[in-house]
């Protein structure tokens, strides 16, 4: 086949163009978040003292962390889905949640007596946290990964890892509603580990599934 002949075939295929990739990704995120929320409502549920918790800054701070994680990861992912250089600004944006987390850990060190540290760190539900965050992240990760296959990421492993972070942002936000451990120590250790698990899975899948 000559190149001109290939061009004739491509031109005949003009009308089968997919929806813009960013719109597809938003649909995947919304779909994944809805499924994860249903799993949460049917199988997990909010903590019993949720009304009181919503008035405490330590509980609300968990949402600040998980939602900034979600926002920064999604913003970067929308760029990584397209070919080209990794946008430095969005890459730097990924540092916002860890910085906020470290700030809260320092505050905790200053405010809480050291005798209570180990209890704050271990909390009540460390294992549940490690299981539920990946579980609640699974549907968003699957939906986003599937959609990224229709994208054109020139850094497949990075795109997969950032998709994992975005999905973990959804999973961790839902889990935070259930979790009764609000200490930044606990969040740093266990949420951090759980989010890392989802990110590694995303990177692994990205390296395998997102080549084009």
């Amino acid at each position: 086949m000559k190149t001109d002949e290939l061009i004739a075939a491509l031109a005949a295929d003009t009308k089968t163009v997919s929806r813009p990739i960013d719109r597809q990704l938003w649909i995947a995120i919304a779909g994944g978040a809805i499924v994860a929320t249903l799993i949460f409502l049917l199988g997990v549920g909010p903590r019993p003292d949720i009304a009181a918790a919503l008035e405490t800054p330590r509980f609300l701070y968990k949402y600040l962390l998980t939602l900034t994680l979600f926002a920064s990861a999604v913003g970067l992912m929308l760029h990584l889905a397209r070919p080209g250089a990794v946008p430095a600004g969005w890459l730097a944006g990924l540092a916002i949640p860890p910085v906020l987390l470290i700030a809260s850990v320092i505050a905790e060190i200053l405010l809480v007596p050291s005798s209570a540290w180990s209890m704050s760190l271990m909390g009540k539900n460390a294992v549940v946290c490690l299981v539920l965050i990946p579980l609640l992240s699974a549907a968003p990760l699957a939906a986003v990964m599937w959609t990224l296959r229709d994208g054109a990421p020139t850094h497949p492993m990075l795109a997969g890892a950032v998709a994992g972070l975005a999905a973990a942002g959804i999973g961790a936000t839902l889990y935070a509603t259930h979790c009764q451990d609000d200490s930044p120590f606990f969040v740093a250790a266990w949420y951090g580990l759980a989010i890392m698990i989802v990110t590694v899975v995303g990177a692994f899948l990205g390296a395998r599934l997102l080549r084009w």
């Binding site: 086949m1 000559k2 491509l10 295929d13 163009v17 070919p83 084009w212």
Partner: protein
Amino acid sequence: MAQVTREEEWSALMRAAIDGDEAAYRQLLESLSHGLRAATRRGFVQAGAAPNDVEDVVQETLLALHLKRHTWDSSQLLGPWVRAIARHKLIDALRRRGRRIEVPIDTMLDFLAAEETADDLDRQDAARLVKELRGRQQVIVRAISIEGKSIREVAENLEMNEGAVRVALHRGLKTLAAMHRKDHE
């Protein structure tokens, strides 16, 4: 200045193509293929790879541009997006041929101005790939590309409806792109 207006013209052609303008799309792909050929050839030379399947990589890149055109942000110029895909495909093609190299970005920067026409000897690979398409897909891709038939003519000849021909053509092109990727591995 010529470069700037040309870039804008390309962006306008792609916008028209995404709205369904077949003639604009053909004009754009023809225009891009000359520069892609020059850049790919230069990349092969820089990597010390034999240039005898440059045309194969040009075709693989055109297929990628086609199948991924919804990843272009239409508020931006088209050129940088084309360069990023061309560079990705060139590096990938060289790697599969056992050449692990960094393609300098400037190889892609000025290629758009270049003009280079196809060499008839360069396309055995591509012809072989079409032969590997299955049944209907091969018949339809061959009829529309090599025989230059329209969708309607193919539909009449094969007694299919036009929608089914379009679907088969699209699947055939996707399969071709996947075969390029697996080739040389």
